[in-house]
């Protein structure tokens, strides 16, 4: 569906000088995560660059993606945006047939890109490393809702590479702070089951976990409910999730120490701006790390007020080391399942 107000692309002939940007979502909006963030980026493109925009949800039936890419590429859009490792192959194939148009893949781990495709990837592992450090520091601390056990938690939507990229960074970050730390890991097996997310979180909290990292989409919203019920902490993902809840449920929001953010929205805006000015270096992949302002943790009011200042300083220190590459974080992308399992088991409580 069209969430922007743009009419159909084909009818825009008379204003042909206007920039036309289309975003194809391989799924549905409302994930509070990278689809929504990408959509937000598109909205910024519209408002800040005055482009004609349109977002299309392609749904979860993967057989429909390829025809949609082809259909859309054939229309008169200047820039076609989509994202994900999953779609990279077919996205590239489509792009090759339309060398005059610019294609932006806002989140992929695959490096190869045709000449007219701009690939971006985010240092998920690094930002998760930082989140893990925050969690480890919190569980050791004397913060009001922290206990004496050095156990932190992780809730993933599914046991898949995209999720495990967060997990591995998170574990390494936590271990960096406390090599003896334990990390409870659960997967809900589902991205739309917040009740299950809550149950799994409650089990973790009850077993001594005091911070859980949410990497489970809609399911993860159950973590915050559990955190409120048990008065424990949580860490959000993708966007600043405390901000989501600040107005409607401040009590809950105050338990979200920070969020590991992929700045897909600004990355899209920047890329489109560059493309408009003809400065986008296509044909390669750009890794968006701390330096590129592609990732970061939410340093909002809650972080500043709830998370002790001395610990904030430690986090800042670690962040610097990550930026300088003094710390190297493993990347779960490309790891075999067995390697990931070994990492998980090494910190199992």
């Amino acid at each position: 569906g069209t969430t922007g107000e743009a009419g159909t692309a084909g009818s825009g002939g008379e204003q042909s000088d206007q920039l036309k940007v289309v975003l194809l979502i391989p799924g549905t909006l409302g994930d509070k995560s990278f689809f929504d963030a990408a959509n937000h980026g598109l909205e910024m493109v519209k408002s800040e660059l005055g482009a004609q925009t349109k977002v299309i949800e392609m749904g979860t039936d993967k057989t429909k993606w390829e025809p949609t890419f082809n259909d859309i590429a054939a229309e008169d859009w200047n820039i076609v945006i989509s994202g994900g490792s999953e779609i990279t192959e077919m996205f590239n194939t489509t792009a090759e047939q339309y060398p005059d148009k610019t294609f932006i893949n806002y989140d992929t781990d695959i490096e190869e890109a045709p000449a007219n495709v701009y690939n971006m990837s985010y240092s998920t592992n690094e930002v998760s490393f930082l989140a893990g450090a925050v969690a480890a520091l919190a569980t050791q601390s004397d913060m009001p809702n922290a206990n004496k056990d050095n156990v932190i938690g992780f809730l993933g939507g599914m046991d898949i590479p995209g999720i495990n990229a967060f997990l591995v960074g998170y574990i390494e970050g936590a271990k960096y702070v406390d090599p003896e730390i334990k990390v409870a890991v659960s997967y809900a097996g589902d991205f739309v089951n917040p009740a299950k997310g809550k149950e799994l979180s409650l089990i973790q909290y009850n077993s001594g976990v005091d911070v859980i990292f949410n990497v489970a989409g809609g399911t993860g919203l159950g973590i915050f409910d559990a955190a409120k019920e048990k008065s424990r902490y949580a860490i959000g993902v993708d966007s600043d999730q405390a901000a989501l809840l600040k107005d409607t449920d401040p009590e809950k929001a105050n338990l979200i120490l920070t969020s590991a953010i992929k700045k897909i929205d600004t990355a899209i805006l920047e890329a489109v701006t560059k493309a408009k000015d003809g400065k986008l270096g296509t044909g390669k992949r750009q890794v968006m790390g701390f330096v590129e302002n592609g990732v970061g943790i939410a340093e909002n009011d809650i972080y500043k007020s709830v998370f002790p200042a001395d610990l904030q300083a430690k986090v800042e220190e670690i962040k610097k080391k990550l930026e300088n590459k003094e710390i190297n974080v493993s990347n779960a992308m490309g790891m075999e399942t067995s390697e990931i399992e070994a990492i998980r088991n090494s910190v199992k409580p």
Binding site: G1, E57, K62, P67, E86, I110, P161, G189, G334
Partner: protein, 349 residues
Amino acid sequence: MMRLKYFEVYRTAAVILISLAIAFIIISLVSSQPVETIRIFLFEPLSTLSRMGNVVEMAIPLMFTGLSVSLLFKTNMFNLGAEGIFYISGIVAAVLAIHLSMNGIIHPIVAIGAGSIVGALLSAIPGYLKAKWNANELVTSLMFNSIFFGIGLYLLNYHLRDAKAFSNVSYKFAETAQLAKILPGTRLHTGLIIVLVLIVAAHYFMYHTKWGYELRMTGANRDFAGYSGMKTAKVIILVHLIAGFIAGMGGSVEVLGMYNRFQWTALPGYGLDGALVAMLAKNNPLSVIGAALFLAYIRIGADLMARLSDVPSEMISIIQAVIILLISAEQFLKFWKNRMLLKEAKLHE
């Protein structure tokens, strides 16, 4: 009786018109150009060859599962297990498509054959439980859907996942395993021929063979079939085997026809859709073709509507629901039939 004979045709036509009118009204509420929108819904699927191809492509798996379910329903087995079978057989076919090397004709036959046989055997479990212990097939089939999904996902993640693809997808299938395309400009593959042959065979089986006869009689009245000397327990197991074989073949064909890697991380939903198709087809094999095409057509139409107009994609399911509710409404327009009946009766007086 001439006019009465065509009553069903009139009724269906009228119902479709009325549901379209209702769809139009709903669309008018949210669309600024309802006429254009409904035009897209109705005619855009026919606008290009590739879109017509999309309709048929989508109908292929629906025909498989629709046929499978209609055989079960015809035997009065309320079994919704096609969903899980479709999935797990897809996995089986994928394993063989990845690991075997054979020539381009035998390879798909072996992979699909294995998927179908596994489907048949797995489907026989609820069948056996029903025939032998009278265990409710609805419950067992629903449970097995979740079990097969879990097992399939485990196999995908732990044994088939291509770490280099950076998402939860399997290794690429061997080229030789993939089904050949049969119409340039579309993705139509040989699966279409397979399913059409299968449908005709099933029709023949059902209405022209001893076994089909036993199956129909067991479904119509199991006591009667037993009284007549049929071994109804065997018939029930047999129909489960056949239905599982067909659903399994559907899963295998879909995987090898439409994808080059296995990549379902959720149940694809064709099993439940198959129940829908079977119902619309009144459990008649030949009618499955029409019912599947109909469903695929309105889905593709609705997708295009969501993509090309300002109607959000969620509208699709609302409009589909309205059409399904009305199309099977036997009493809808009943008064009309009653009037015709009375006239006929008078005529014969």
